[in-house]
Symmetry: T
Subunit: 158 residues, 12 copies
């Protein structure tokens, strides 16, 4: 489809800035959902069950905001792209190890993923301050949820 | 983790055959879930809403069996791998187009994805007939659900 | 519609064997659902209420599998036919008497219906063993439920 | 059972008129439920999913009133008969075609079935005006639901 | 309170006729709810449990319509009276025996109570035909439910 | 759309009488829903919360029957019209005051609205007695609910 | 039924004391449920709705313990009697006035009913201390609920 | 009521700006809820059912935010006004056509209504940036929901 | 584990008396749950279904209190023991017959089991009166439920 | 309010003893709910999530009984006082440390709090044995729940 | 624990400003929850029940945000402190009177508490505008809810 | 009862082989449910709560399949036997230790129980391959669930 079938409520330059922020966030969140599932399946060790369950909550959070972000992209006239190939090419989350992982290693990997994602989100909150307050509000909400998750995963390292 | 922390109920060669079937199915299903979401977000046209809703049911089906397959891999002592990179490298589902798609094009893409996946699953049902009846039973159940979905998507092309 | 709009995952001869088994099962189950409702409305006697309720559970079971069988027929490219006329012409369940029936007579009729249906299903499980394992799995599940019901109705004759 | 085990609250002639109206309505509704299921399984085409779902709502409506009508027959001392053979012999609904049907053909068939059924129900509302107000009230309620369904199916032909 | 605080939508004579019908129905239904509870607590014998449960459904029906009738009385400007003393003085339901009762004796008592109540209700349906169609409609609905219960209790005597 | 896409089950003159009754009822009920919401937001004083909650129940009742009436209009081949302009032009409910209102003033306004609406509904019950019993039945049900509400609001003035 | 079909776990004299306490409590609670419903239907005045709702909670409490007390009577081999006539002859709750009542008058009546009932219950708690601790425990639970209700109704008189 | 009974947390000029924004939004949303219902009842054509359902979701969204906006107006000491007359006089949504509408015409009307409403809301987000951040946050949330709906309705025009 | 890891709130002798009562009750209740399941599976005869369902309620009751009793044992510093071997060695419930049983024989067996259990529980209520009121309260609650079940099973022998 | 608006069912001296027990328990439970929340927010370490969740269950238990105790105080004519200042002045629970705490330190703090509270409750059970059996029963129930919690927290120290 | 185990996403000075705002809000909200409970238990007078219920909704609101604020403090690396002693030392809410209070006095106290809390929250919204937009967003949401509650309590003073 | 009241759908020799497999599985599963409860009550140590909860899920799984296996035995005409004595005499699960157990010891015991049970089940899957495919399907399903549990318990030993 050569041009957007959706009329944007934003001016062209605001739409570009906002669209970039949303597409990048979409990719990060799809990757987070895959990594958290990978960790959910591969965690082993004495605290296995607690981490196993907590990881599924993180998957749910990631999936929920993936939808919200893709819908917002559509609402401003941008086609969202969350395919595996796009995720491999542009995700900002550090790679997660293969094979079974101990609970400690799992926590380390999840905390690193969240830290990278939060840092990128805070930049996008700044970038969208002028381009679209509605999108900014959504990014703020996502950041709040991920920073809460960040605390809960860090708390286990204390 | 150098060796499996999970003791397999299967003999070594059965474990290998069964494990390959499960890992390949896992990757196919993760890819299906991402493609169905991509289609869900990017479909446009007169029947938009109906296809949009039906795609989310397909996402739910794919995700449900992704979990079942990964759990089964663990149960036979195989570490499941569903990361984005693994999906890009080994999925057997044809590539899905970027950007917004008409309802017709969306249906074509979904039918093609399901057809490829079903064909591969039927081969694995044969392969696991000797190696592990429990895994075979799971693959039969998945095939039944996907063939039902296959009918429902084809029915729209009539 | 002259030819099937649904592409079958089965080879032609497997499709024919499997399709016949499914169509015959569909008709038997539709008939069972009508007979069980007829019995539900016409039972009288001291144990009326218990039989009245149990018959509605049998109706629910019959209806649930009617849908599963018809969907499976579609999935292999066969048009299912569950119209009243088709039921009269091809059902394998013995005729159920008109008018009110005592609880004992009702139980006798239901046990006979289940016995006939189970015998036919077990044959179809054998027939589909080579033609389609997915359909066979569905027929096994139906048989398990109906044999359970068969026990519960027989138990009242002891 | 030679004579009715249920004492009727109606005089003999009122019971006969009312009983005929109920038995005829029962047969029509059982047939409607079978036709709507047949249509549900065999509809194909671009609008497949929407019609597929709407047909199941019609099945649910038909089944619900089948029970209400049969219970009412019992309440006035008449044995209800809803067996397949009885349906074939006395239903007033035009025959529905075999095999897969396009959405348009499906809608045509359903609208015709509803139209025939509503016309017959309105006559029975008149007939029961003197014989039993309680039964008339039930027939009025059924007519209201079916005329609402009639609108919704016709609306798609506009 | 000397005069009615509720302004009636009915003319004075219609209000009197309708009010009498409602007050008499209220008393009958309160009595039915007490008798059905009494029977629920005192039934013994081989079919104890089935009758015990069915009686509680009758209590629920009686209580539901007690409320509907009292509310309707208020709506037409009549104060409803459902106190124990009023019930003893004006109920039209035959007395129910003291002490434990066999299942058969219980059924006989319940059938007799329902028969008396239905006969009285059918008279009130006639009486309110001119005075208030809204009230008549409520009485028809109650009659339908009680005649259904009447069938279900009689069916056990067959 | 020049002519009705919905075939009416009624003769032309019956359709006109019934259609007028339904359209007028639709407008009255939409207005009632808006007035009850207005009152819900603007009531103040010692009994604020209780009235605030009761008003939302009235809104729910009004909205529920608005749908039922509009659907019935469609079912007899009449296009329902519930737009704000139509309400302003043809509602039969007296005007409700602007700004915050005391609980007493709120009750007065609601009782007046219900009284006007009930009086009009009772006339339409008479008018539809010959034209369409199905519509009459719906109007009787609405009247029953509104007269019940009328009592509950009047009860607070005692 | 001449003698009890239920074997009591209590000695004969304990059974008599306990049985009297339970039968008297049953009658009081049935009467409370009827009085609270009477009040529920007949309350009028500024606070109508709040009292109307609170009375239905009292009805629910009374009905719940009516069942518990009757079941306990059966469990110790005593036939419970909760018929209208028995209530009129032996209830210990003061008579409640006929006709509509103001909120104040309603509260006065309910507080008086609860006060009488609580006083009688506390005596029965003492009486059953030696005869049956299980019954005593039930009476304590009922007293706790009724004293809580007593506070909530008194609080409105402050 | 001459002056506001609610003490505002805002300074007088902020209150006026914010109050105007809220009152105008309230009117727009009430109108949207009525127009969406009108469309819900009057849509006809091949895709009837899907549009019919989607319109009721839009009604639900509009009603939910109508309440939130009216409550916010009260919270800052402004009496909200959502009466039919006020809607006719001050709504900013273009008029919606009378009579049945095709699915295409319905979509056009809904997209136009949403576009007008979104444009007005974005202005009010700017206006309240200085006057009240709390109200601004609510307007942002409403805009996000309506822009999402806007996408979903536009997607059907592609 | 040589000594208790749980500090008891009771003095040593009270702990011993209470602990014995709890351990004995635990064993009795585990046995009751196994016997009731055995009966649930093996009952046959005309009243099969009613007894079959009622037995599962008894299983649920037994299991619920098994947990409560084991938790209470822990709370006072006693390790609960509910293994099959312990049950065989110390249960106070008479042996239940092997193979299918008629409804009458089933009722006889259940009544005997309950009678033995209640008698033992009443002794433990006395024993714990001085040692631990909290445990006594739990035993009273269990006795109340089992005596209620005792009535319901005996009622069927009348 | 100089004197109690609630008439007590107890004699004056019983009321004083019982009132003191209830007020002291109220304060202890409010403090427990605050300490458990404090611990819930500040726990860190490898078992963080399990302790975090278990603490919220303790908060729920504490809050539930806080209400029951305050309501009971009212029921006997005593004004309950659960303000922060009252808690600081009269709680019997040892102080809980500030700042983040390890899981071990958290468990130690919670076990100490429960131990102190249980000891105080057992004294009040003795004190109310003569003054009010109804209150005693409530205190027994609270003690049962807290001793169960005490076991579950101690079990983690083993 | 000497230093924070949680890595803050904020710079040190932003963390301090934001942390102070959150800790102060936490204390205010804990105090509000205790005061609202105190009022819930001690309100008396004609409108008792309505105020009693509304106060519990306020408790629920306060508790919900207490959790959100404490979690946010953790997320930015600040240990939250909500102990009774901390509340007494630093809450900004005016003291609430002891003993039973009339409905009017209760409303006055609650309005005063909300007014103080809202004023303090609006200052913190300003303070966090530069330090942390995520925290500011949470404070805005809390303010919206409390200003809504403020209206509902003031409305009763009109 | 000397001979089976249930007519088997299997030939005599198939019935014997299948019946032995089912009876042996029944005993193993009853024993598993008792052992898992024993472990649930007696586990202590730092990970207490997680293991405590996970054990109750294992109890639920064991109980669910106990019912399925016993019902299947009945369906093929075999009387199931799950009494304590039978369990002690024929269970294939190794004995579980008395008294409190550490989390590690608990896990060891559960893994050993599951390993023994799975090995026996896999043999029975082979044995029933010729005798009854319906029973084999049930055994495959049970094995899948238990092997999944086996992984989750082993994962904690890594």
């Amino acid at each position: 489809m050569a041009h957007s079938p959706i009329k944007s409520p934003l001016a062209e330059s605001d739409k570009e800035i906002t669209g970039n922020a949303l597409q990048a966030t979409l990719v990060d969140l799809v990757d987070l959902s895959l990594i958290a599932k990978q960790a959910h399946w591969n965690v082993v060790g004495a605290n296995f069950r607690s981490a196993h369950l907590q990881l599924d909550e993180l998957v749910a959070t990631a999936r929920q905001y993936t939808d919200a972000v893709a819908e917002r992209a559509n609402a401003i006239g941008i086609s969202p792209n969350g395919k595996a190939k796009t995720v491999v090419e542009s995700s900002g989350i550090p790679e997660y190890p293969d094979n079974w992982q101990s609970v400690e290693s799992t926590i380390t990997g999840v905390v690193a993923a969240l830290e990278a994602l939060i840092e990128r989100l805070r930049k996008r909150i700044d970038e969208t301050d002028k381009s679209d307050l509605v999108t900014q509000d959504l990014l703020i909400e996502i950041t709040q949820e991920l920073e809460k998750a960040h605390w809960m995963w860090q708390a286990q390292q204390a």
